[in-house]
């Protein structure tokens, strides 16, 4: 499942190549990154690089998948399914916002969005290893809380999407278009608290 990466040879310097690729891709984007730069950053010859990966695309896919799965899994550990919404929603909101605002999350997102038409499997891979997992986890939690009578919700999937979107209010558009690059605790609190208040107004018991 996690390794659909056909045609990718493993070997001694595999991780070296992957790390160099991550560094340069994150710095320069997909088109912007040159394979020569990556090989140099990885401390590896271009020939070696091409002996591991058949082309630039597959190399990038490997980087994106690895990073995304890593970040998403980490974020999901913070959810304690047995706690009530008043405890869990702030946790979800904050860690979700943290991921959205992180340098890594932002850059992968940028690259995926940019390349999504000419490179559709990339967008899908990113979606599956990131947003989809998070969405599934939130949905599951909402369902569990509803079963316990802590929430009243008929369309759990939509509720999960709504909560995630609410957490991006104001901050995310400003970030994505480069209006602001960092946000104060107060700004984040305003958004997360607002998201929870709106969510609970609709779905609270």
């Amino acid at each position: 499942m996690t390794a659909p990466a056909a045609k990718v040879r493993r070997g001694r310097k595999f991780d070296q190549v992957l790390n160099g690729a991550r560094e340069i891709f994150m710095r320069d984007g997909f088109e912007g990154a040159s394979v020569d730069d990556i090989a140099r950053a990885a401390g590896v010859s271009k020939a070696t690089l091409y002996s591991y990966f058949p082309d630039k695309k597959l190399l990038f896919m490997e980087v994106a998948n690895t990073q995304c799965a890593l970040q998403a899994d980490e974020a999901l550990h913070t959810i304690d399914m047995s706690q009530p919404p008043s405890i869990v929603l702030p946790q979800i909101g904050n860690s979700f916002l943290g991921f959205i605002l992180s340098d890594m999350g932002q850059r992968i997102f940028r690259i995926c969005v940019a390349e999504a038409d000419r490179f559709p499997e990339l967008g899908r891979a990113f979606y599956n290893s990131g947003p989809k997992k998070v969405h599934g986890a939130i949905t599951d939690y909402i369902q569990a809380a509803a079963d316990r009578g802590e929430l009243r919700v008929s369309d759990c999937a939509l509720a999960a999407d709504q909560f995630a979107e609410l957490c991006k209010s104001d901050i995310w558009p400003r970030l994505v278009f480069g209006i602001s690059t960092s946000f104060t605790k107060a700004e984040k609190a305003r958004v997360v608290d607002g998201a929870i208040a709106t969510f609970m107004a609709r779905y609270g018991v």
Copy 2:
């Protein structure tokens, strides 16, 4: 204000160039579009193109600004500030969703997001001529409705952002990562109706 485009000469074939540029940029993105292609599509020689625009960036800025202002203005005309939320919110939601889903809106968005680090003024220009205007208009409406006692809201700006975000639930992530490319009326209705229900649960009188 709307024409920071210094150094852009107007003239007979100005619109021709602009149209060709729009076509190719929308098809191939910023990096992907070659100036030769644009000149060919515009039915103009490369020398002529460069006599109007000093470089590729400025040409793209002009295209993006023009398109974005056009789309945003059109969308804003649909808001009748004097009507109650039960009338206006569906209008806003639908036309907002329409813009988000439109080929043009989506492509400009993609390009802006992709190029935002290496080309920051583009992101800012897009934000100002699009999202910012829409956000301002929604905020104004919410304020007006609140003044009439039709809504109860303390942070109008945040409420506006929340409504816009709510309208993107589910649909937008799937679109942006290429999971789905078109949506049924039912799918859109589910999201817009859900957005309104959640919004009104929090802010309704």
